[in-house]
Amino acid sequence: MLTMLKDIYSILWVDLCFLKRHWLSTLAISLVSPLLYLVAFGYGLGRGVDVGGVNYLAFVMPGIIALTSMSASFTGASSKLHVDRLFYKSFDECLMSPISLFSIVIGKALIGVVRGLLSSVAILIVGIILSPLLIVSPLLILVLIMSCLVFALFGVFIALVISSHQAMSTFSNLVILPMTFLSGTFFSLSQLPEAVKVVLYLLPLTHSSESLRAVALGQPFPWLSFLALLGFALFFFSACMVALKRASV
């Protein structure tokens, strides 16, 4: 058990070294689009709009935190890993070491969680300043960590199976970008037809933003969504393990 924790930390350590040197630029880049969304939707489009009795800025803030956790964790876990795997081949060093595949997956996902938390906490702070309605509680942090974990594992999986840099950006445009807009981040799903809702509930970000919004606005907590996030995490974790087993002996 102790060895496993040490192994996980060893895998994380190397990415932390990188982050220590580049944390400011990493953080700044990850905050560009959330802040643009905040200005465009929160202030521009949503001024004076109410959603279910809540002003739009308070409504959209948790959604923006959710999408920040998604993009920062996904990118945080996948961007360096896929380059290390495909171009520098330095990921082979991990595969040739006595470290278990389990520890490799968790270690690689944790850097995504760290980077995801770094960015989403920054946005959360912006949120607290701009929208006094926002309630920050331990449950909110728990959901945030869970959300980061789901998308970090997703990022690790994609980085392990993708075959080129081109494919990586195509994937981001085809999957991550639509999810950003469709998952109840900017609008309430309650207004949508049932069939559309069913499809949108298949997206992990929908559950992140629903859970975060409920906690942040003091509404009843959607435990099913939280369970769904747990399910997604397990699913992506298993997918990573399968991908790694195929990659090595």
């Binding site: 060893s10 190397v14 520098y88 040739m96 070491s97 006595p98 470290i99 002996v249």
Partner: protein, 287 residues
């Protein structure tokens, strides 16, 4: 002599391409073994199978007595690998890269510190410890990669094309380093498409061609099979002919009897390149 690496009908197929076909090979403990062949001959695939990175399609391979597929974890403890593509993390310093390697192999903090200093000194990189890998020259990067692969004191060091892209002087220093490592007890398995590298370094060489092992012996024995002396004759000013002789006397006799259309004549020691060309009709470094 104890055998450290053994392959038995080792085969790797990618789709319809047979990258490695029925390879049977034994590498002895303590030797420098050279795996020679042109690009695409199956050298890297073989190394990847020996180092647990690629699963054989059929056949088996043992390293240090352990089956590479079934006992991969044990194999990982006895091997050090320097890949052709430098597998260092370019965004880290030399020291951080080496430290990471030590962590991957479960070295304690004090062991890591001690080993890092020892090894950097061994390859004369102490001054570069805190430089980013990206700022190093090609030869320094290679040495840094070697250091990191040595952190856990592997019994065998695999090097895939260790001197590709290095200038002549740096290459010679690299050879000295590898010899020194070998003298200190590390078995070395290297691939190369440089003939002179195989001749300068290796006690035995295996020659690969289109995924098949076409020769396996020490360089001198292979040359003896062909003739130790080569005569190159330029015929009619455009076509070079190669003839092989057991010794210089026989070569001289041949030259004295040449007709007047043979203008330029060179008598030299034969080399593995001659052997490879005669065996396959192709040049080793030809692509």
């Amino acid at each position: 002599m104890e055998e450290f690496i053994v392959t038995e009908n080792l085969t790797k197929t990618y789709g319809t391409v047979q990258a490695v076909q029925n390879l049977n090979l034994k590498v002895h403990s303590g030797e420098i073994f050279g795996f020679l062949g042109p690009n695409g001959a199956g050298k890297t695939t073989t190394i990847r199978m020996m180092t647990t990175l690629t699963k054989p399609t059929s056949g088996r391979v043992w390293v240090g007595g352990f089956d590479v597929v079934k006992e991969a974890d044990k194999v990982k403890n006895v091997i050090g690998v320097v890949q052709q593509h430098l597998s260092l993390d370019r965004d880290l310093t030399v020291k951080e890269n080496i430290e990471f390697h030590g962590r991957l192999h479960h070295l304690s903090a004090s062991e890591r510190r001690k080993r890092i200093n020892e090894l950097l000194d061994y390859v004369e990189l102490t001054d570069c410890a805190d430089r980013m890998v990206d700022t190093l020259s090609g030869g320094m990067k290679k040495r840094a990669a070697i250091v990191s692969s040595l952190m856990h004191k592997p019994k065998v060091l695999f090097l895939d094309e260790p001197t590709v892209g290095l200038d002549a002087q740096t290459r010679r220093r690299m050879w000295d380093l590898l010899r020194r490592l070998n003298l200190d007890g590390t078995t070395i398995f290297l691939t190369t498409h440089y003939i002179e590298e195989a001749e300068a370094l290796c006690q035995r060489v295996g020659i690969m061609h289109h995924g098949k092992l076409i020769a396996l012996d020490n360089p001198l024995e292979l040359r003896k099979k062909l003739g130790l002396v080569t005569v190159e004759t330029l015929v009619n000013g455009k076509e070079t002919r190669y003839q092989y002789f057991a010794d210089r006397e026989a070569a001289k006799r041949y030259v004295q009897n040449l007709g007047s259309d043979a203008k330029t004549v060179i008598i030299r020691d034969s080399n593995l390149e001659d052997f490879f060309v005669e065996q396959t009709g192709e040049k080793v470094g030809g692509n």
